[in-house]
Amino acid sequence: MASRFYGLLLRLLPSHRRLRYGDEMAAVFAEVVGEARRQAGWLGAGAAWMKELFGLARFSISARGLAAGPRSHPDRPELPRSGRGRWHMTSEIKGAWRGVRGRGWSAVLSVGLIALALAANTLVFSATDALVFNTLPYREADRLITLNMSSSPRLHQLRSFSDLFSAVHGYLAGSTFVTGRVEPTYVSTTFVTPGLFEMLGVAPRFGRGFVDADMAATDSPAAVIDHDLARERYGDPRAAVGQTLETTDRPLLVVGVMPPGFRFPEGRTRIWRVLDYARYSGGRVIISGFSGFWPVARLAAGVPLEHVERTVVERIPELKPSGNRSAVNPIRFGRPPDERRLMLFALLGAALCLLLTACANVTSVELAGALRRSRAYAIQAALGAPRGTLVRTALFEGALLVALAIALAAVLAVAGLEILTSRLPERITQGGINPIDLDWRSAVFMAGGAVATWVIASLPVVVSSARSNLIDALKLEDRAAAASRARTVTRRLLTVGQVAFAVVLLVGGLLYARTYTRLLAIETGADTTGVASISLTLPPETFPTPERIDELATGIMGRLKSHPGVKAVTRLYGPAPPAVGFAMRSHPEIDSRPATPAELSALIYNVEPDFFATLGLPLRLGRIFGPDDPPTSAIVSDTMARQFWSGENPIGRTFRIDPSYPVCTVVGVVGHVRNDRDTLTGPTESSFTFYLPPQPPLRRANRPGDSTGPPPVNVPAASLWASVTFLARLADPAQLGAVLGTLRGTDSRFQTKAEFLDDAYASRHAETLMATSIVTAFAGFAFIVAMTGIYGVMAFLVAGRTREIGIRMALGADRRSISRMVLGSSARLVLWGAALGSGAALLTSRWIESQLFGVSPTDPATYVAVSAAIVATALLATWHPAHQAARVDPAITLRTE
């Protein structure tokens, strides 16, 4: 735990320092603390921690170059010695500590409440920061650019522009199959030119980076690996250097290990290898099936981006801007889509609502406490304590509460982060360039939140202390309470605020939850329940030819068919729905006439005839193609049939994807299966889906002048891999594990992955699920807070009005009317809160309208349900105070007077 916390503190340092020195510092600090503890016990350890805390803060400041003094000198001005003022501070803190301890459980609750709200805010901020706000974790990352590669400029040409760029490098995505375990594991790999790490300003943690000599052909090519991979495979990351990493291809020689947390170009890459660009120099880079070769460059010192952009286009005219991309772009890896950004902002808003609810609750409790303590204050004031002292005491007590809350919040945030990142889909946590973690920015955010909390929570108490009326307060307590009506009004307002925030959050949570259930309920178009896609990833060295792959697939097919738990099975040639089998840009011709619109996306699945039965996809018209059908027999989706042959019988009609492609004949029509190109409401008009018998992907007929393109770049063999996919309908979903076991048999030459189609469809809505769970959790929490707030206010009110109630009862009021009076005043608060909250929700829910589906942001049922729930629960929370009030014995109450 301590080392975890220290790791968190290290986030105060800028990343280049942390990556370089962080774990070393942690090791040294562990020894320093250990020794302090041996020498002076826990007190010594505490002192070491304090010293380290200040030291880290100073290190953080000096490492950012914020410290005064010349930067070039390795020296640092000494700290001024703390003088007498410190003792003064200590006594203040001691006083505050006494004050806070005197509050008992209410202090614990306040601390817990603020801590939870702060932790929630920090977590949501961390996610938003990593995915939206933060810059790249490289040295002077704003000087790094990428070039518009649509026209593939040559690296050496860019390198000759030394007036524009201080360094030019490139990278290429690939893959490695690591062996030595049960099965070959696919590991995302990036090929980089030597010197790229140096340009980014990140050095390997152990070993070295790439040098030009690594490009020479060798039996074991050099590789730099990720810190986690090094620890997984070799235990001690340092020991990884010099080891060989067995792969299905040649073994890799590990020459370096990157620091923990290093990502390039995104989090999934765990192996980096040398890209021998020189071998391809002169050739343009065209690699089918890959994200392509990307140049990354660092702008020369002092050269503005606009100048580079202009000059580069002048020198290489093909680089002209295309679409919304200009020729030269600052690099921004893993930028999330707008929808997700909006969602993150909505979550930040929800977290802020939660924090405000917690603030309102704590302020209200503090005010009640201040009321109780007002006599003590008044006596202190009467004895000559200046008003300033009282205000300072209030401020210090608030500060202490918030400080305790920060400590707890840090622990909660660390624990919560693990839960959050384990729940999020990999494409969110690993897709970005910044890991979602608690860095110094999160710490600053949390500190800012804490200061805001402190101000908001202390202000009313401070104001009321400053104004406290000596005479009133010195009178009997009840009267004092009655006299400070202003505070009671403030507390009521605070309660109304808590209820209002809770309503906003509840409305948001309910809207998201309804959206998610609606999304899950969207029809897939087939009977996908119980159907699993099982895909094998095959290393190219082990399965070099289609024949070898077919041989494997046939064997597995036989085993799957004979398994009693499998009702039906078919082999797919491409990914399973909801992924698109094979998509291409098309200029279709329908019955030899160009279609309108002229350009569409063709979505093609290559399937066996039993695909349709396995998936439960109903045949609407015609027949399923059989083994004797030519490869141009097509089964089209009913949407495509409507699109091109509206109303007419499409059987026997012809179409082709593009004038250069063979003509296909329609033999059957099936229903539409939802795929990733569809919108939430159904297929788009800009694409059409059809099925073809298994065959090599449609080949473009050779046209004269078509083959003059440059030869494709020779990608290292381990970058290409094949996959085989099966769809299996299981009798019982629980049998998937057993089925997978028989499938593999003793063969360990490939990697398997299985997923139920329903889960695959649901995973497409992971973001909505995330928003739903987070907002619902916040809403539930705010709801409880608001209810305890109502309970507290009502209980306090009843306690303060015991005399009044006694008098009323003595004058003839019966118990029921007393209960009703208490319940009524509670209901007034809640109704105000519900009304205000609903109004605020109506205004703010429009911001999340684009993220909702199947439910309107102003959906009346949602608002009514939330308001009814909150009013009912509030009355329940008031039951106990009302009961207390009704049990007041007028005789006893009046006797004490």
């Binding site: 030291g55 100073r58 490492a63 070039s72 390795p74």
Partner: protein, 119 residues
Amino acid sequence: MPPPSRPPGALSPQVFQILLSLADGPRHGYAMIQDIRERTNDEVRLTASTLYDALARLVDQAWIEESDPPDDTPDHDYRRRYYRLTKIGREAAVKETARLQRLLDMAREKKLAPGRNRR
């Protein structure tokens, strides 16, 4: 702004002690802290952050550099890294020692310090 108490060019006690600590040969971080504390009788106590604040800048300045652990170290903590003085670092330490020596000589001439003045 450097504090008025230290003339320009002078090293802070921490930095000078780190350089002294590495004068015998490579050391890792915690060994430096221990060595400095023992040598100065607890007067200069560094903690992880103060040590690495200085180390980071010394590395930037190339006064010190990372080195392989000495051959005889039975060391299994992979997080430990060893540092040694570079030529520039050694020169800086020598220069600082000379400066201190000059000061001491001056003090001796004024009979502020015990010992013989060799000049």
